[in-house]
Amino acid sequence: MSQVPLPITTLFAPDYPIMTDRLRLRPFSRGDVDAVYSYRSRPDVSEFLFDQPMSHEECAEAVRIRAGQLAFSGEGDKILLAVERQDDGRLIGEVSLIWRSVADRQAELGYILHPDAHGHGYATEAAAALLAFGFDVVGLHRVYARCDAKNLASAKVMQRLGMREEAHFREHAQFKGRWDEEFVYAILESEWRQSR
C-alpha cells in the first residue's frame, strides 16, 4: 500500500494501514461505496444509529467525506477507518475515534459492523487498535463510547474492551420519535494499561 497523504495540519495520525491479528484498518477510498452501502442501507444496522438507512448516493457522499477523516488536527476531528478482513480482503465495517476535548484529553470511540460479520470479535479487535492509538500516540486520558440500551451486542464489545458502564440514561431525549435510553461506557488510560 502506498503512503497515505496526511493534511499538513496533522498532529496525530496512525501509521496506515493498522494491522491487527485478523484485520486491516485503513482510510476509506472511492471504491468502498458498494461495501458501505451493503451494511448502511440495512434497517437492522441503522436501528441504533442516529442515521436512517442510507441510499447508494448518500453512501457515496459519506465515503467521499470519510476519505478525509484520517488524522487529528484539532478538537472535534474524527478518524473514521474502513475495517477489512485480511483473509478475504472484504470491507466488513467501520471504526471511529473523535477527539472530543484537547485540553481534557478525551475521545469518543465508535464502530459499525456488517451483521454478517458479527459474532467473531472483529469489532472488539478493531476498536482495541484505535484505543491503543488514542492512548499511546495521542496521549488521551479517557475514551468513552455510547450505545442504545437495547443494543446489547454493542455493550458487550465495550465490556470486552475493558470499559466500565458510567451512565445509563433513561428517556433523556427523543430518538426517532420515541424515548431514548442510552449507555455510556468509558476507560481511563491507567485502566487500559493495567488490562494489557
Binding site: D104, Q106, Y144, E166, A167, F169, R170, E171, H172, D180
Partner: protein, 197 residues
C-alpha cells in the same frame, strides 16, 4: 402589567424570586468553592457575586429552552435566605429540565435543601409538564448525592475524570427522575401566586 411571580410554600420554607434586599445573605454563600461548581456565573469576588445575583433576580420565567427559574429559599420562622433553587428548561421535544441548588453553610443538615428541591421538582412536573428532571453533582459532594437520592432520584451516571476542573480531574454524578416516578403531592403543601407591582 398583571405580572405574577411564583411563590411556593412548604412546611418550613417559602420559595420566591430574589429581592434586592437578599443580596448580603446571598453573598455569604455564593462565592464558596463547593457552591460555585454548577452555577452559571463565576463569583470569585464581591463584584462578580453581585452581578451573578442581579442575573439570578431576572430568572423568573420558564417559557422556552435555555430559560431558568431561580427561587430564593426563605425560612418561614425568621425570614432568613437559606439558599436558592434553580430549574432550567433544557429541551422542548424531550421536556427535560435540570435542577440546581445551593444552601448556605449555616443552614445545612436541616433538610431545607431537600424540602426546597422537592417542591421545585413538583412544580416542574405539575406546572411545566416536564418529562424528566435531572441534577448533577461533583463526585465528592456526599451531601448533595444523599439529598437527591433521598428525593427518590436515580443515579444515572458516574463520570470519572471526564474533564479537568480547576486543574484537577473531575468526577461527576447525574441523578434523574421521570414524571411517572415522582410521588406527586407529597412534597408540596401549598402553591400560590401573588401579584407584584
Amino acid at each position: 402589567m398583571g405580572m405574577t411571580d411564583l411563590t411556593i410554600k412548604t412546611g418550613r420554607l417559602v420559595l420566591r424570586p430574589f429581592e434586592k434586599a437578599d443580596l448580603d445573605e446571598v453573598l455569604s454563600y455564593y462565592s464558596l468553592p463547593d457552591v460555585q461548581r454548577y452555577l452559571d456565573w463565576k463569583a470569585r469576588d464581591r463584584t462578580e457575586a453581585k452581578s451573578a445575583f442581579e442575573a439570578m433576580r431576572k430568572q423568573t420565567r420558564l417559557s422556552r429552552p435555555g430559560d431558568s427559574l431561580t427561587l430564593a429559599v426563605v425560612r418561614k420562622a425568621d425570614g432568613k435566605v437559606v439558599g436558592h433553587v434553580s430549574l432550567r428548561y433544557m429541551d422542548a421535544t424531550a421536556a427535560q429540565a435540570e435542577i440546581r441548588f445551593a444552601v448556605g453553610p449555616a443552614f445545612r443538615r436541616k433538610g431545607y435543601g431537600s424540602e426546597a428541591v422537592g417542591a421545585v421538582i413538583s412544580h416542574g412536573f405539575a406546572e411545566h409538564k416536564f418529562h424528566r428532571v435531572f441534577a448533577r453533582t461533583a463526585g465528592g459532594n456526599e451531601a448533595s448525592a444523599q439529598l437527591l437520592k433521598g428525593l427518590g432520584m436515580r443515579l444515572e451516571a458516574h463520570y470519572r475524570e471526564h474533564a479537568l476542573f480547576q486543574g484537577e480531574w473531575d468526577e461527576e454524578l447525574h441523578f434523574a427522575i421521570l414524571d411517572r416516578e415522582w410521588q406527586r403531592g407529597a412534597k408540596v403543601s401549598e402553591i400560590s401566586r401573588h401579584k407584584v407591582a
